[in-house]
């Protein structure tokens, strides 16, 4: 009973993959809170007992005092576990906002399912804070997370492409086997369709 539930709660979190969310463990969470309540009641009854015995509660140091102290320390330990649980999950929630998207609907539904309502609210509030900052500074910060590379790539044409392809910077006809230097974004749909192939240098 002394901090046991809190320990289990933290262990449950730690057993997940780093950076990944498991579903919120309401059962353990509530049991930990329950344990805190029990500690608290026992502290109070011990204090009452000391008062009834006419002892100076603040300065008295008898077995009851130390008993109450143990309950106090257990309570605090559980509190830290509870806070750690919420805090570490909140960290992941913030990380999701950065990496996946600032709208709740950007998150895959299986992730949304692992969040409590309160966590969804926290996500929304934090996103708003981020958006507000970015708006004021005038720069989007959740894009461009990896260093930029050359936007142009070398491709070889695999099929005859009859119509002139309209590219963002030129218009050309592409004969089979010819090689060209194109913007990756322009080439991607053709590569996906197998009409072009990217060449590494």
């Amino acid at each position: 009973m002394y901090g046991r539930k809190g320990y289990q709660l933290v262990k449950d979190f730690a057993s997940g993959e780093k950076g990944q969310l498991k579903p919120f463990n309401s059962k353990l969470f509530d049991e930990t809170i329950e344990e805190c309540d029990q500690n608290h009641h026992l502290i109070q009854s011990l204090i009452r007992k000391m008062q009834q015995e006419g002892l100076d509660v603040q300065n008295n140091r008898n077995a009851d005092h130390y008993g109450a102290l143990i309950h106090h320390l257990s309570l605090i330990r559980n509190k830290r576990c509870l806070m750690a649980y919420v805090y570490n999950r909140a960290e992941i929630v913030r990380d999701l906002a950065w990496r996946v998207g600032l709208e709740l609907l950007d998150l895959p539904s299986d992730i949304q399912g692992k969040l409590t309502t309160l966590e969804k609210d926290y996500f929304k509030n934090h996103s708003v804070a981020l958006k507000s900052y970015m708006g004021k500074v005038g720069i989007e910060l959740n894009v461009d997370m990896v260093p930029p590379k050359d936007p142009y790539i070398k491709v070889r044409i695999l099929d005859d492409i009859d119509e002139g392809i309209v590219l963002s910077d030129k218009t050309t006809n592409f004969a089979r086997h010819s090689m060209h230097f194109l913007k990756r974004t322009d080439a991607e749909p053709y590569i996906a369709r197998g009409q072009m192939k990217e060449l590494t240098d």
Partner: protein, 210 residues
């Protein structure tokens, strides 16, 4: 714990290391005419056929890929020089030879994009890999013997090597440091149940009765 293992904040990704290396100046020989480029990062050119000029590595690679120049490999990248360096690295257990801070990235980019401009490219590549391996191994073995608890000089270590070794050395030095200091500063704990430190032990409890 805070900030030390978080990849977002403290460590550089390999792409970021390469990104920083791409600002190193290298010599190219243009084969075309082009006006001076007035970039935010500096002025480069103008470009005149056959007249060598120095530009940042990223720009050099971009021009090379577009068929607009050839590279002049830096002096340190010759087979002779690299062979010497490799021998010297193997000879000494504790010192590192002087190499450009971003030698790994510079060599890799040149080999990837300008192999025809590098004499004995395969030899060069293999030498650079060997040098890298010897140096990394040296760093790892020396980890245990870092003396001194407050400052360790690491001469001639390169960017990539710093980045790889950083977390290990940190932990080793921090362990030394904690043992060396008589009283650790009062550690402000993170919200983790693993660290249980109470700020006060004898409570004067103004707990109210219910």
């Amino acid at each position: 714990m805070a900030g030390q293992t978080d990849p977002h904040i403290s460590l550089f990704s390999p792409q970021e290391i390469e990104f920083m290396a791409e600002d190193e100046l290298v010599e190219i020989v243009p084969n075309m005419n082009m006006e001076q480029l007035n970039f935010i990062s500096g002025d480069f050119g103008r470009f005149i056929p056959q007249i060598p000029t120095k530009v940042p590595l990223w720009l050099a690679v971009a021009l090379k890929r577009r068929g607009k120049c050839t590279f002049r490999p830096p002096g340190w990248m010759s087979v002779d020089n690299l062979t010497q360096i490799l021998e010297a690295e193997r000879e000494s257990q504790s010192t590192f030879q002087a190499l450009p801070f971003s030698y790994v990235e510079i060599a890799r980019l040149l080999i990837d994009h300008a192999r025809d401009d590098i004499p004995d490219m395969f030899m060069v590549r293999s030498l650079v890999e060997d040098i890298r391996d010897v140096r990394l191994h040296k760093l790892e073995t020396n980890l245990g013997s870092f003396q001194g608890t407050s400052a360790v000089k690491i001469s001639n270590v390169s960017a990539m090597e710093v980045n790889i070794v950083r977390p290990f050395v940190r932990r080793a030095l921090e362990a030394f440091y904690k043992h060396d200091k008589p009283e650790a500063d009062v550690d402000r704990d993170t919200r983790s149940s693993r660290q249980q430190r109470e700020a006060n032990n004898e409570p004067r409890r103004p707990l109210r009765q219910r």
